[in-house]
Amino acid sequence: MSSGAFLTEHPAKVTGWRLFLKTVIARAYPRVIGQQRERSWMFFDIVLPLGGVIAYVLVYKAIGAPAEYVGFVVMGGAMTAFWMNVLWSMSSQLYWEKEQGNLALYIMSPNSMMAVLLGMALGGMLATLLRAIAIVLLGSLMFQVQYAVANFFQLLAVFILAMAALYGMGMMTASLFLLLGREAWHLSNLAQEPIYLATGFYFPIKSLPFWVALGASIIPLTLGMDAMRQLVFPSGFKIGFLSVGVELSVLLALCVVFLVGAKLLLAHMEKLAIREGRLTESRR
């Protein structure tokens, strides 16, 4: 093949929103396809949260808790898959990319970093959704959880808004992690049990003192799970922290704040990282 033929066969340069969209899809692709290729990840992603679910369900059974608490735990266990995904595959992703030497390539390539993060988020969300569904199905079958959806459209809206806000938060924190070295791994590791506690993964958030629950509401899963529990369990309305309508409004606000925050912080951190030469450093 002559060089001339090569030039003529080369696709036209993509710019603008098309480039943005192509970048989103390109970055989402390995998240969806790559994660399915490594089947052992799928096993661990499902079995580890399911192990936690089983342990906490059996604790509730040992202390004679009402049946709906089993359902709360199953739902919480499924949502941990999203939290783990945001923590390890969103927030700390740019840190991993830096460690592997890919980050400088991302920055150099003529596309938007927001598109890269958005692709990561969408791909991760889709891949994790499959795992979360598996956890709900297995947990529900194992412990005969009863659901009674009060309002399907509200449930869908809560889930979509909670995911958008959660992954928006992941995009925002990804830029903060850009400045971290080895402590990134430790911080991600730290943000597990304390967050499970504060956001009420395994119990109704209303059980915590009001101000603690309110503070924890900055993490979208807190209100997302509370609203979903109110909507899918017959006695859910009794344990609601705020009304579903209020929780929907707060989730919407969190979406806007986190997505705008992600754009601003990313631009700032990118500049800072370039200025301080942190894009290629690897502090082991």
Partner: protein
């Protein structure tokens, strides 16, 4: 790269017992120091202390809140100290199993130094056990603080004067060695697997959390699953630790009520020895396989 240089264990096989001990001690001591540096030097001591404490305390607090909601704040039920102490001491299980097994992945894939360790005059199994000591130290802080929190704020019925300390320390010692050997078993398997088995320590510790009666009596499990708990030394270890600290409160649960402390110690000792031997055999087999297949310096790049 297949490691073909003479292995230190082959060299020391012909050494005198004194040299063997000296070499093992040096491997253990230096691995302990290295493990501590890796675990702690990413942050200043204050931040590191907070990090070490918050995670386990939060884990305990989840159970406390769950229990508190259902029991309506009544922490005098014997089930509460059963759950609380089991969970507190189970911190050692996660710390030791993950600490020892993760060292293989950390050195091979992250620091890329496992190949150098292999050609250094050290004993690799001892080195791996030493790397777990740092997690034992941080785990101990967490266990102590969790228990102190329980005594001070949640009426955990622990009477320092009434506790059976000799039984406690003997059980603790056997248990920690047993957990370290289980970590070595997992570390041996990790030699043959790729990076994502970083989960292996967490996965096994998570599974045994269910089957060892750590946070609920084994009777809560379906009858067909209970035998798994009965063949695990952790079950007997946690029972002994509970009995040594809160005596009759722990003995009230029917699962192991038929066993005396001496019988439990005997079972723990025998099972620990079995796991220890299994770990050493597994290491020998996996180590040989990893050398033959050139896995010592593999980087899976995940």
């Amino acid at each position: 790269m297949a490691v073909t240089t003479p292995h230190s264990s082959l060299v020391t096989r012909h050494s005198s017992p004194v040299t063997l001990f000296t070499e093992s001690w040096r491997s253990f001591r230096l691995a302990t120091w290295l493990g501590w540096q890796i675990e702690s030097n990413w942050a200043d001591p204050f931040l590191f202390a907070i990090y070490s404490i918050i995670k386990p305390l939060s884990g305990a607090a989840i159970l406390v809140v769950m229990y508190g909601i259902i029991a309506k704040g009544n922490f005098t039920n014997p089930l509460f100290p059963y759950i609380y102490l089991g969970n507190a001491f189970y911190i050692y299980a996660g710390a030791m199993m993950t600490g020892v097994s993760w060292a293989v992945i950390d050195d091979r894939e992250h620091y890329k130094t496992l190949k150098y360790m292999y050609i250094a005059p050290i004993r690799i199994p001892i080195y791996l056990l030493g790397r777990g000591v740092a997690r034992f130290i941080t785990g101990s802080f967490s266990v102590i603080i969790t228990i102190m929190g329980g005594v001070l704020f949640l009426h955990l019925p622990l009477d320092v004067a009434a506790a059976n300390w000799p039984l406690f320390f003997l059980s603790l010692f056997i248990g920690v060695v047993m957990l370290a050997m289980m970590g070595l078993l997992l570390g041996s398997i990790s030699l043959l697997l790729v990076h994502h088995v970083g989960f292996i320590g967490d996965a096994v510790a998570g599974a045994l959390y269910i089957f060892s009666g750590a946070i609920f009596p084994l009777d809560v499990l379906p009858a067909w699953l209970r035998p798994i708990g009965f063949i695990m030394p952790i079950t007997y270890w946690l029972e002994l630790v509970r009995r040594s600290l809160i005596g009759n409160v722990a003995q009230a649960f029917p699962t192991l009520a038929g066993f005396s402390n001496g019988q439990l110690l005997g079972i723990l000792l025998v099972l620990s020895l079995l796991f220890g031997v299994a770990a050493l055999i597994a290491f020998r087999l996996c180590d040989r396989r990893a050398r033959e297949r050139g896995l010592i310096d593999r980087t899976s790049n995940y």
